[in-house]
Structure formats: C-alpha cells, structure tokens
C-alpha cells in the first residue's frame, strides 16, 4: 500500500503539524507502521532542514504542514485547527 493510495482511499491525511494522521477509525497494523515510519523520517528531515534555514523545528513543521494541506488534491482529507478531518 503506497502513501498516495492510502491518501486517495481516505485512510490517512495531512495534519496542520506537518505530520501524517490516520483518518480511518479502524487502521490495520500495516497502516499504523507505515504512518509511524513516514512521520519518523519527516521529523528527521524537518530537523535537518530547520537547522539549514536557521529556524526552530516547529517553524519548519508548521509551514510544511500548511503547504501540504494547500497542495492536497480535492477528495483527500486534511485536519483542521480543532482536529476534525475534512475532505478537501
């Protein structure tokens, strides 16, 4: 199962924090593992890029999250300010 498939099937979506969130109420183990692994890799990237740009990591997370949500195509899920999943 690729990330794009999971997104198109509405299983996962982009959160405002720059990390991936699980949308489905009943995720299987494989899905949970994939989301955790992707978020772990994203965090390492955020840390590296934040130091390159000379900013705190949360700036990098927040700004990436915002851009990923903007770029999410119609039909995929994004999480709004109070944690509700909205279908774009």
């Amino acid at each position: 199962l690729s990330l794009d498939d999971a997104k198109q099937q509405g299983l996962v979506g982009e959160r405002a924090t720059g990390y991936l969130g699980i949308v489905t109420g009943s995720p299987n183990a494989e899905l949970k593992r994939m989301v955790d692994e992707i978020n772990r890799k994203r965090q390492a990237l955020y840390q590296d890029k934040a130091s390159k740009a000379g900013v705190a990591i949360d700036i990098m997370e927040l700004r990436t999250g915002q851009r990923l949500q903007e770029r999410a195509p119609a039909g995929e899920y994004i999480q709004d300010q109070n944690g509700q999943w909205q279908r774009k």
Partner: protein, 320 residues
C-alpha cells in the same frame, strides 16, 4: 465518444470517424485525478472544456490518424502559486504507423498571475518529428505584456520534452515605477521608461540571462529615496552609503544603464549606472552613481507568494 466506421476487416482497409463532444475538464480532472502522474499533483482545473474530432484510415499495415483536439476557456492553478486564465487551444495533429507526427495550431493565453501579472501570449505553432522523443515545436514570434511594458520573443524551435532555447528577448516601455512597485521598498519612488535586450538561455527548467541590458529613454527619469531609520543609521556609519543616500534624495537622471545577469539558482546581479544631478545637493553638481545590487529573485518571488499565504500564527511568531 461517437464512432462511425466502415472497415473491411479482412484486409483490413477502411476508415473510422470519431467525435468527442465538448465536456468539462474540471469534472474529468476530479474523476481521473488518481490516475494522473504525481508530477501533476499541484495542478487544479477551475473551468474549461475540451472536444475533439478526427478520423483513422487503415490500409493493410499502414494507418493514418488525424485528430483536432480543442481546448476552450480553460483556467487552472499550479501549486496555489500560479493562476492561468482564459486559455484556448486549437490544433490539428496527424500521425502514421511509423509514428511520424505533424501538426499545427494556435494557443491563446489571456492572463497568468504568479506574484506578477503577465498578459498573453497568443502564439501559432507547428509540430513535427517522431514520437515519442524526437519532437520539434516551432513557435511564431510572440509578445507578452508585463508591468505595462512589452516583452517580445522571436520565432523559436525546440524539443518541448527537453527544451533548450538560446534567444534574445526584447524589452520595451517598461516603467521603473512599476518595477519598483513590484517589491515596495519603504520610501523609494522612481519613474522612467526602460527598454533593451535580455539574452536568455533555457535548458530544461534552468533559466539563465547573461549580460542583459536595459537603457532609459531620452527623457531619462527620477529616483527619490527617503531612507528608513535603519538605512539612515547605516549612512552615518559608512561615507559611501551616505553620499549615495544624499544623491538619491531627488536624483534626476538623464541616463540609467542597467546591466543584468540571472543564474539558474535565482541569484541576480544588477549593475545600475546613473548619470544625473540632484538639485538639492552640491548645487546640482553632476553625479555618476554606480549601484551594484545582488539579490536572489526566486527568494523575492517566494516572498511575493508568501505575502498573501502566510497565516497569522506564523507571522505573529516572527514579530515577537
């Protein structure tokens, strides 16, 4: 898709006429979005329709396809940063069994907004070559209207799949006032008509300008700059800056010679030479001001995008 065929399958020999009546691209886009390649992810279509008609003639193992796809009133956005409106395309394409392609048509774009507004182009084109890789696209000369000025390009021929273009772009009637308004610098005003030539090289997505030059018109122009407190402070500490600031309070120039280089990574180098005088400084003694400015225009472009995108939360975080 409407088909009308009369084909003798034994040889085979015959002809199939096809017609695809106009349908909305927006619906098609959201329907087939999952099938599109990842590189098209940032593309979003707001309106526009497409239609096509043509025929396929078969004669034993030879075949000849003619198709005339049309696009009308298409408007789309790319990655929320670039908006293109009023795109229409008419084209006639022909293909045969050895995949030789020929075609011609015309493209009309009303307006593109990407931090800066560009009107046009309207351009005629010809296509020929061999699918899938050896395609040559020939464009007629066309012009764009930017900042109330005109940018004119000569006829161009390149492979659209890996474009390598080496051309000279003519610039006319560009008002300094509009250029400065693009990136408002507190206290800076300028006016004067500029024109000239920018030798541009495009290689794939890498754009480069070497030794571009813009010159002011015969009427010259004026630059007035009231420095911000920080800049004024810098003036006190640096005599060169102080003299420039004094000259620029009201510089009436009869010549502005602007040299310009732009590199693929966005770094731009401006070499501005101003000949003029300032009526309020040194009794209007003639001034020869050489101003070398270095700036990354991709960063500038991103700033123009950011100004309308950044949420307050991020903004406030920076004010503290």
């Amino acid at each position: 898709l409407n088909l009308k065929a009369n084909v003798d399958l034994s040889k085979p020999h015959g002809r199939i006429n096809f017609n695809l009546p106009a349908f909305s691209l927006q619906q098609a886009m959201s329907l087939y979005a999952p099938l599109l390649p990842a590189s098209l992810k940032p593309l979003q279509i707001q309106s526009g329709s497409t239609e096509m008609n043509g025929w396929l003639a078969i004669n034993y193992q030879d075949w000849h396809l003619k198709a005339s796809p049309r696009l009308s009133d298409l408007s789309l956005s790319w990655d929320e940063t670039t908006q293109v409106q009023g795109v229409s395309l008419t084209t006639d394409l022909e293909l045969n069994q050895s995949f030789n392609l020929t075609g011609q048509g015309s493209l009309d774009v009303q307006q593109t907004d990407s931090g800066i507004r560009i009107y046009g182009p309207r351009v005629d084109f010809k296509l020929n070559g061999q699918l899938p890789e050896e395609i040559q696209l020939s464009l007629s000369p066309f012009s764009l209207s930017v900042l109330d000025g005109i940018i004119a390009l000569p006829a161009l021929t390149f492979n659209p799949l890996h474009p390598t273009i080496d051309t000279r772009v003519a610039v006319a009637a560009l008002d300094l006032q509009d250029i400065l308004a693009l990136y408002p610098q507190e206290g800076l005003y300028g006016s004067g008509m500029l024109g000239g030539e920018l030798p541009i090289r495009i290689d794939g997505d890498r754009v480069e300008i070497n030794n571009g030059q813009l010159l002011s018109s015969a009427e010259g122009g004026v630059i007035r700059y009231q420095p911000t407190p920080e800049i004024a402070l810098m003036g006190q500490q640096n005599p060169g800056v102080k003299m420039a600031l004094n000259a620029l309070t009201d510089l009436r120039f009869e010549l502005l010679d602007l040299g310009f280089d732009y590199q693929p990574d966005g770094d731009a180098f401006f070499r501005a030479r101003l000949k003029g005088y300032n009526p309020d400084w040194q009794q209007g003694r003639p001034i020869d001001l050489n101003l070398n400015i270095e700036e990354n225009l991709l960063d500038l472009w991103r700033t123009l995008q950011l100004s309308n995108q950044v949420t307050d939360t991020i903004d406030r975080r920076f004010q503290r």
